[in-house]
Amino acid sequence: MANTEASGGQSAFLSIRNICKEFSGVRAVNDVDLDIQQGEFFCLLGGSGSGKSTLLRMIAGLEKPSSGTIRIDGQDITETPAWSRPVNMMFQSYALFPHMSVEKNIGYGLRQDKWEKAEAEARVSELLELVQMKEYGKRKPHQLSGGQRQRVALARALARKPKVLLLDEPLSALDKKLREDTQRQLVAIQKEIGTTFIMVTHDQEEAMSIATRIGVMDNAKLIQVDTPRELYEKPANRMIAGFVGQVNIFEGQVSGSGKNQTIQSKDTGNALEVLGEHDLADGQTVWVAVRPERLLIKTRAKGRAAAAPNKAAGRVTDIMYLGNITHFEITLKSGKHVRLTISEHWDEEEATVRLGDRVEISFEKRAAVLLTR
């Protein structure tokens, strides 16, 4: 997957500056800046009420921003009405016209744009082919399955060759199996036509597997914009760390300064060490995030404490064997619960860990991420 870096300023294809939206005094979107490059598959990730859908609807022109500007391809479209924006949207409910056949649905935008009849027909059949719905052109939406409707909605939104395609939780109505297939199709189609896609989703796995970059929204603000890998490995705060995959967070207190600075954690009963230089104040509370698969585990003799940085002693309180991986729940002496995942090719010692065993968990410096928020 392309590792597209945000390069702000004029070069961005879609450029959003200081966008705010208020609904009767409540900020639904608060001062968002966002740059998206041409050909990106961008995901806006966030919980319900985070403002992600409102942001998408403002790009579509279905909501009017309270302030700020939106530019596409160098052109300011903030005041452009929805019907003349070079942007199309695929709705969560698909919003197919129930009284029109599949062909008529897909061709609707072309009829509004007064395309030549022959050209429009050619475009419709091209799109039917793209979404593999060639035999269904004459059907009505209620004669289609959920997945087929989703594909018709995609074809309809692509018909006018928009510069940016907006997708509002397009897969949320599909069951898990179908959703994974559809994700792959969506990525394939996006690669084939090269149109910039912006998708809203609350499903972090979906965002991680599809997107070239992800923008995480929380409480009306855009918190972090990064590639899936960066987001997973360098989350900006505890909310994102917990939102994108599972994570263990150890709280710590900074003491001292300069070279002698240490972080003491009540959770582990030991010091926490991380890589790199950090500008921390004496007495500051910080958090260290470690992914469950980055934790190491080994059995420990009775009464022996694990006294070294990045180590903690505890007991195994739950084991969930899933075949390829095994989940452990470990309760540390401090009472904190820690999740640990071990993949199938574990070593001898790890394989012998049983429920109720005394264990020592540890992690390497490079596996830990320091969070100050």
């Binding site: 579509a60 022109g61 279905l62 009405p81 929805a82 019907w83 003349s84 942007v87 199309n88 949207m89 709705f91 969560q92 409910s93 919003a95 197919l96 016209f97 129930p98 009284h99 609707y108 935008g109 509004q112 744009d113 939406p141 209620h142 399955s145 959920g146 409707r149 309809r156 939104a157 018909a159 006018r160």
Partner: protein, 273 residues
């Protein structure tokens, strides 16, 4: 579903009997060969034959059909507009009052509606010279007003569970109002509109009181003719006529219900999958 208590069945049977036994008896007596309404003289379709030869009843039936058709059209057009406006106007102070006022004619005593419309027509004639006298036009307008209220309720109800994202989708695909309304909204709510039309037709066809107030020479509707005939004494002809009217009304009501139900089903199927 569990076993029903026999008392519930009995209550239901009793209720339906009260509703339908009189109509049923009337229908049977319309096939009575005897001239005396209350004495059974064997089966016959004689009164239907005589009915069709009665010019006065034929004229009145024609008037009633024309009025019902016209009133249904007037009521449906304006009722749809009111229903759409009420459903889309958004929330504001006095919204409930406004929607209550739109549907008030449903609960208003017909005598009041009839009288007020008569007064309106007379003052309009005095002021602007239209409508000139009472006749078909005034009956159609009068019936149209109360039909409008019923249609407004039906349309408003239909639009309350309408997925507005299809209108947004139309706008997103380059359409503007009022084309969105005609290309997308109207076709989708069409079954509700037709149901409203059928109901209006039936209601207008039935009405006696309002028509009595605002009619003029040559615009006596069927219910008016029946009523005036009944006052002179019952004839088996009237039974036959009433039976036909029941049939016409039943077709209208059942049609309206079927349409409404089909629409709900399609909607549910769309939402479910």
């Amino acid at each position: 579903m569990g076993k029903r208590h026999p008392l519930i069945l009995l209550t239901a049977a009793f209720g339906y009997a009260i509703l339908y036994v009189p109509i049923f008896i009337m229908m049977i007596y319309s096939f009575n060969a005897s001239r005396l309404v209350t004495v059974w003289g064997g089966w016959s379709t004689r009164w239907y034959g005589e009915l069709f030869q009665n010019g006065q009843i034929g004229d009145a039936a024609w008037v009633s059909l024309v009025v019902a058709f016209g009133a249904a059209v007037v009521g449906t057009v304006f009722g749809t507009l009111i229903g759409y406006a009420l459903a889309r106007i958004g929330r504001f102070r006095g919204r409930l009052l406004l929607s209550g006022m739109a549907t008030a004619p449903i609960v208003m005593p017909e005598v009041v509606t009839g009288l007020s419309l008569l007064l309106l027509f007379i003052s309009m004639e005095n002021l602007i010279g239209w409508p000139a006298g009472r006749g078909l036009t005034t009956v159609i307008i009068a019936h149209g007003t109360f039909c409008m209220a019923y249609v407004a309720v039906i349309i408003q109800g239909r639009l309350s569970d309408f997925d507005t994202s299809i209108e947004e989708a139309a706008m997103d695909l380059g359409a503007r109002q009022p084309w969105i309304f005609f290309q997308v909204t109207l076709p989708v709510i069409m079954p509700a509109i037709i149901a409203g039309w059928l109901l209006s037709f039936t209601l207008s066809f039935d009405d006696l009181v309002i028509a009595s107030f605002v009619n003029g020479p040559g615009s006596s509707t069927l219910p008016m003719v029946i009523f005036s005939k009944v006052r002179l004494g019952l004839t088996p002809e009237i039974n036959a006529l009433a039976t036909i009217m029941v049939a016409v009304v039943a077709v209208g009501v059942i049609g309206a219900n079927l349409l409404a139900r089909r629409q709900v089903k399609t909607q549910k199927r769309l939402q479910k999958s």
